[in-house]
């Protein structure tokens, strides 16, 4: 009986812990993706002001177990990093069009 209770308890906990682990993995992955995008933007000279701060906040929240908060920061950082890279590539091709006409 005791074994049965232990098994049921284990089965009950497993999905929760697996889901949590998956969330943490997703969080790490989001942070990694955001960091990669930030680095690419930086290498192009177009890093935005707040991207690194957002990544730091995502890491901080994750360390405190606040996964939802961490994901929110990481997604925002990832978006910023990608936008900055797109901006850099666009400006590299089109900066001459930005010269004001007389």
């Amino acid at each position: 009986m005791k074994r049965m209770i232990a098994l049921v308890s284990l089965l009950g906990i497993m999905p929760v812990s697996t889901a949590l682990s998956a969330d943490q993995n997703q969080g790490s992955s989001l942070i990694d993706q955001a960091e990669a995008a930030r680095k690419e933007a930086s290498s192009l000279g177009y890093e935005w002001r707040d991207t690194a701060k957002l990544i730091a906040s995502a890491r901080d929240a994750q360390a405190k177990g606040q996964q939802e908060e961490s994901d929110r920061f990481a997604k925002e950082a990832l978006l910023q990093g990608r936008e900055a890279v797109a901006q850099a590539k666009y400006m590299d091709r089109n900066w001459q069009q930005m010269i004001p006409k007389q």
Binding site: G45, E47, W48, R49, Q87, M91, W95, M98, I99, Q102
Partner: protein
């Protein structure tokens, strides 16, 4: 001399002349390209502000805002940068550990403001005044100074002060120099940061318009009067500190003072001021 020898001699002379002519025809006149840019740039600003004389753009926003100019003139009667200039003079003449001083690196008693920025062909990069000061320090076994403020800005202020009135004439005479100039030009016109704004967007297209309580200064004359004592800073700071502040304001990560990008930008912006005079240091809001 046989007919054959004469013919060969003439052929050789012809080939030499042809080579010389084709080389000179193919050589790119980079300074002419820059001069054309300067004419277009200054014409754009003049069209926006037809009543302002070219030389007066060295006064920044005070060339176009008469009310602010009156207040600024009063501030300049007791300039807040005076102390920095005095301290800069002392630092300029202060002996290093090896007995030499900054005075030994800069000729003409240090009145060398209009020698900078220039493109150093051997090093393959733009050299600014602040970079040259730090180069002198490190060459003499001293530590380089902070590129944004403090002693470097004070020394720069002293050099600018004793160089007042020197005409600006940035030279761009090689392919490598022109490449650095173009990088600075790209930095000036390209939009960046979260607000997707460029130097030109504010200081050409929107120059003279209101930004909150302030009027945006025109781009012509931006580099003539640095370093500046900003009331906002409460101290004297360098041009690259101002660049960093502007980048921060538009949501772009500021670059390091004396980074290649900021030196190239200074090179381009100062070239656009060709024909004006250096009039730093100055006070600003």
């Amino acid at each position: 001399m046989s007919r054959l020898s004469v013919a060969r001699l003439l052929q050789a002379v012809f080939l030499i002349v042809l080579t010389m002519v084709s080389n000179s025809a193919l050589a790119v006149n980079y300074q002419a390209l820059v001069d054309a840019d300067v004419r277009k740039f200054q014409a754009y600003i003049h069209k926006e502000f037809p009543d302002v004389r070219t030389a007066d753009f060295a006064d920044g926003v005070y060339a176009i805002d008469s009310q602010a100019r009156k207040q600024w003139k009063e501030v300049e009667e007791f300039p807040p940068y005076d102390l920095a200039v005095d301290e800069g003079k002392a630092l300029f003449n202060k002996p290093f550990a090896n007995g030499k001083s900054l005075a030994g690196c800069f000729p003409n008693g240090g009145a060398v403001r209009n020698k900078y920025p220039y493109f150093d062909e051997k090093r393959g990069q733009v050299v600014t005044l602040e970079m040259a000061i730090n180069d002198c320090l490190t060459a003499n076994g001293e530590k380089p100074l902070n590129g944004m403020k403090g002693d470097l800005a004070k020394i720069s202020a002293y050099i600018a002060f004793i160089s007042r009135g020197q005409p600006i004439h940035v030279k761009v005479e090689s392919a490598a120099a022109y490449k650095a100039y173009l990088k600075g030009k790209q930095f000036f016109y390209a939009k960046r940061g979260q607000l997707n704004m460029s130097c030109a967007g504010c200081h050409m297209e929107y120059a003279g318009r209101q930004l909150r309580s302030e009027i945006i200064s025109p781009a012509l004359g931006h580099t003539t009067h640095f370093p500046v004592f900003r009331l906002k800073w409460g101290e004297i700071g360098t041009l690259h500190r101002r660049y960093a502040g502007c980048n921060e304001n538009i949501g772009a990560k500021p670059l390091a003072a004396q980074s290649e990008e900021y030196r190239d930008l200074e090179f381009f912006q100062t070239a656009m001021c060709n024909g004006l005079s250096f009039n730093g240091p100055a006070s600003r809001k």
